[in-house]
């Protein structure tokens, strides 16, 4: 219908000038050829007559959306665009398109809080693809449009973690249109794709809030791990002294390190492996653990592992496929690890492959997932924590177990309440 030329649309209109659809069609033809003022006239008439003569709310609603788009195209008519979209929302508050366009308009105006609010209102509607379709494309891309607006505006109102998380979720969405794909990738590049800031540290003043007050915890002044991994290991092993660890992807000796506390305060020993020579050189100078500088996927662990059982296995390489391939090299059939922290980096693993595969693999060797989807924030799940049922007390497992799909901020998880 909208391929018709202007003369035909005008002729139809003149034959029945109060016909809402003829008004709408003429408006659309004008809009398509760039004459948005003329289009506006006929969209306003559409709205009036569709309501007055046909009680056709949907056509009125669509005419208001198109009218707003015309004014948006004319630029610098912000009040009118917003007013028109608000009128559209008031007419059909259950439909998503006007919320989206209004959120987008506020975003264009750098009115971040307003844009964020309308994005959330739209996101929470029951229907994002209403059964009653509009006649024309009003630039509403679907539910992900709200997520996109929310992601953009969350950043500007200081919700950086939420923004990053939403952009990552969008980046996994195979249904996005190309222009959104580009925008999402650009935004990810601009705001940085690294979820980790400073380690989330434990201090002794938090002791009272620990969910499980294991022996020796009261003496810990400060830990070192990125996300409480060391505190988790000690929790699951009831503050074990003289434990043994295999640390793959050890990183720096103290900063963000998962075994420094174990070694320093609980007299653990073990093996620390990293591919980075500088890291290993630094590590060797200040830590007691045996160090190996190598590609973890190429090591023969039967030769490296001196004991049958170990208390802790850390698997943390980059990218996550390397971590998984390393896991496959560990002789789990001949060696047991009481606690395992496995970094799957789900937040950037768009197909969830590593997380799914690693869970299946570890469970096949008798490991129980105790904490799923640990994160440095409320959004970016990057690690799973396991225990071997033969080596950890069941009562502690029961106290700590949480394998919901939701991302768990590590400090929130370890405490009975946030300090």
């Amino acid at each position: 219908m909208y391929n018709m030329n202007l003369n035909t649309a005008l002729y139809n209109y003149l034959m029945d000038p109060k016909n809402p659809l003829y008004n709408f069609t003429l408006g659309k033809v004008y809009e398509d050829i760039g004459h948005t003022a003329a289009a506006a006239s006929f969209y306003i008439r559409t709205g009036e007559f569709a309501t007055e003569f046909e009680d056709n709310e949907l056509l009125t609603y669509e005419a208001l959306l198109r009218l707003a788009l015309c004014f948006e195209h004319q630029s610098s008519r912000v009040f009118t665009v917003k007013g028109t979209l608000l009128r559209a929302i008031s007419l059909m508050p259950e439909r998503p398109e006007a919320y989206f366009l209004l959120s987008r308009m506020h975003e264009m105006c750098k009115e971040w809080q307003e844009s964020y609010t309308f994005a959330i209102l739209g996101e929470n509607l029951k229907e994002h693809e209403p059964k009653e379709k509009l006649i024309t494309n009003v630039e509403y891309p679907g539910k992900y449009g709200f997520t996109f607006e929310r992601a953009v505006t969350a950043w500007w109102i200081g919700l950086w973690d939420e923004s990053l998380y939403l952009f990552r979720e969008l980046d996994k969405n195979p249904d996005m249109k190309w222009n959104y794909i580009t925008l999402v990738k650009n935004n990810l590049n601009n705001i940085g794709n690294n979820i980790f800031k400073e380690p989330i540290l434990y201090y002794d003043l938090y002791y009272e809030h620990l969910k499980v007050k294991f022996p020796g915890a009261i003496n810990i002044k400060q830990n070192y791990s990125q996300c409480y991994q060391d505190m988790f290991v000690l929790t699951m092993l009831n503050g074990k002294q003289n434990g043994k660890f295999l640390e793959i992807g050890c990183g720096r000796p103290f900063y963000g390190n998962n075994t420094a506390l174990l070694e320093k305060e609980f007299k653990w020993t073990g093996i620390s492996i990293d591919i980075d020579k500088n890291v290993i050189d630094e590590f060797s100078k200040v830590r007691s653990a045996k160090t190996i500088c190598a590609d973890a996927t190429k090591l023969n662990y039967d030769e490296i592992l001196e004991d049958e059982n170990y208390d802790y296995l850390q698997l943390d390489c980059d990218p996550p496929i390397v971590t998984y391939n390393t896991l496959l090299k560990i002789p789990l059939e001949s060696h047991k690890f009481a606690v395992i922290t496995f970094e799957h980096d789900h937040y950037i693993d768009y197909h969830s492959e590593i997380r799914t595969k690693s869970r299946k693999y570890l469970e096949s060797f008798g490991y129980e997932l105790v904490v799923a989807n640990i994160a440095p924030d409320n959004y970016n799940s990057f690690e799973d924590w396991y225990v071997h049922l033969d080596l950890v007390e069941k009562s502690i497992i029961e106290k700590m177990k949480n394998i919901s799909d939701k991302s768990k901020r590590s400090d929130k998880f370890m405490f009975s309440r946030i300090c």
Binding site: L14, I33, F49, C70, V78
Partner: protein
């Protein structure tokens, strides 16, 4: 009242033609109030007004007024002026569509506007003494918007003389016309009488004709009709006054201005044809009509072409059209057969 003259005309073999220029020049904004003129029987010229606003007018039950009411000018929020630009166009002699056009170059006389309405508005085309004029109202020369009719002489340059980005049509003189008698606030819509150089029908009921002295920019009343038609709204100006058979005719408008319950302004326009004899006695007035069901329309151009009557009009300040009325309908359409 006929609310859809175009439909009636189409049924009798006439046509309604959209008048368009490339939106990159108009920015997609209103093309309105075109004025048609046959230039020396050789070509069809048209002045097409382009404005920087979009008129928002709600009709019918007015359920979707915007925040300023049912009638408002949606101008750029960073520019409070309602600006007018005039494009000179040439129409194709067969299709009557615009075939070429350019913005009239007014740079020789432009000054920063002192009031919100900037530019020459609703300019009619007329050729007097071999000079082509745009004559319309300008309200930007005083801080309080005093409106005066102006005659802007325009000349056409040869394409070969044009520099890059130079306009083909250029304003070469500008005359601001003082009205006769006591000073008034706003003079507009004077209708140029094509066969009487520098004469306008200033008012129609009763008919008042003024003559302009282009050397002094003054005007004087040269005719005032005796008859006053009762029971009609003010007859405001419209097209040029043209000769047709033994008559002079024009199309003019009436407007009803009113406020809604929130004191927001609104308006409804109607048009009529007026027929005078050669002594300026009103012979007939047509019944009021609108062109294409709009409540705000405005015609300021009319001519005879190949015996047909051509009228150019704007729709809601946002679109422009040409209506071709076949010769056999003219008497009926202009009201010569009416008893009004």
């Amino acid at each position: 009242m006929n609310r859809n003259l175009c439909k009636k005309v189409i049924f009798e073999g006439g046509t309604t033609i959209p008048l368009l220029i490339d939106p990159k020049y108009s920015k997609g904004l209103g093309l309105m109030n075109p004025s048609i003129f046959i230039d020396n029987n050789t070509r069809i010229l048209l002045n097409l007004r382009n404005i920087n606003y979009t008129l928002y007018h709600c009709e019918g039950q007015q359920l979707f007024n915007n925040r300023w009411g049912p009638l408002s000018y949606i101008h750029p929020e960073n520019d409070m002026h309602l600006r007018t630009f005039n494009f000179m166009c040439e129409l194709d002699i067969n299709s009557l569509e615009i075939k070429n056009y350019c913005l009239t170059d007014t740079s020789a006389f432009d000054k920063p506007p002192l009031w919100d309405f900037a530019g020459l508005e609703d300019a009619r085309l007329v050729n007097w003494n071999n000079k082509l004029y745009q004559c319309g109202v300008r309200r930007d020369t005083t801080p309080n918007g005093i409106g005066r009719m102006e005659l802007s002489e325009i000349v056409e340059k040869d394409f070969s003389e044009l520099k890059e980005n130079e306009c083909k049509w250029k304003e070469v003189s500008r005359i601001r016309i003082d009205p006769p008698g006591s000073p008034t606030y706003c003079e507009k819509n004077w209708m140029p009488i094509l066969d009487m150089p520098y004469h306008f029908v200033k008012w129609t009921n009763p008919t008042e004709i003024v003559k302009v002295n282009i050397l002094t920019g003054t005007s004087q009343q040269v005719f005032l009709g005796k008859s006053h038609i009762e029971g009609v709204s003010d007859f405001r100006g419209g097209s040029q006054v043209i000769n047709w058979k033994k008559y002079r005719i024009c199309v003019l408008h009436e407007v009803k201005l009113f406020n809604n319950k929130l004191s927001q302004k609104d308006a409804r326009y109607m048009h009529r044809f007026i027929i005078w004899d050669k002594d300026w006695n009103i012979i007939k007035i047509s019944k009021p009509f609108s062109f294409m069901d709009g409540e705000i329309e405005f015609a300021c151009g009319m001519t005879i072409y190949k015996k047909d009557l051509l009228i150019t009009f704007g729709f809601q300040d946002n679109a422009a059209y040409l209506l071709r009325i076949p010769n056999h309908m003219i008497e009926e359409i202009i009201g010569l057969k009416d008893n009004v």
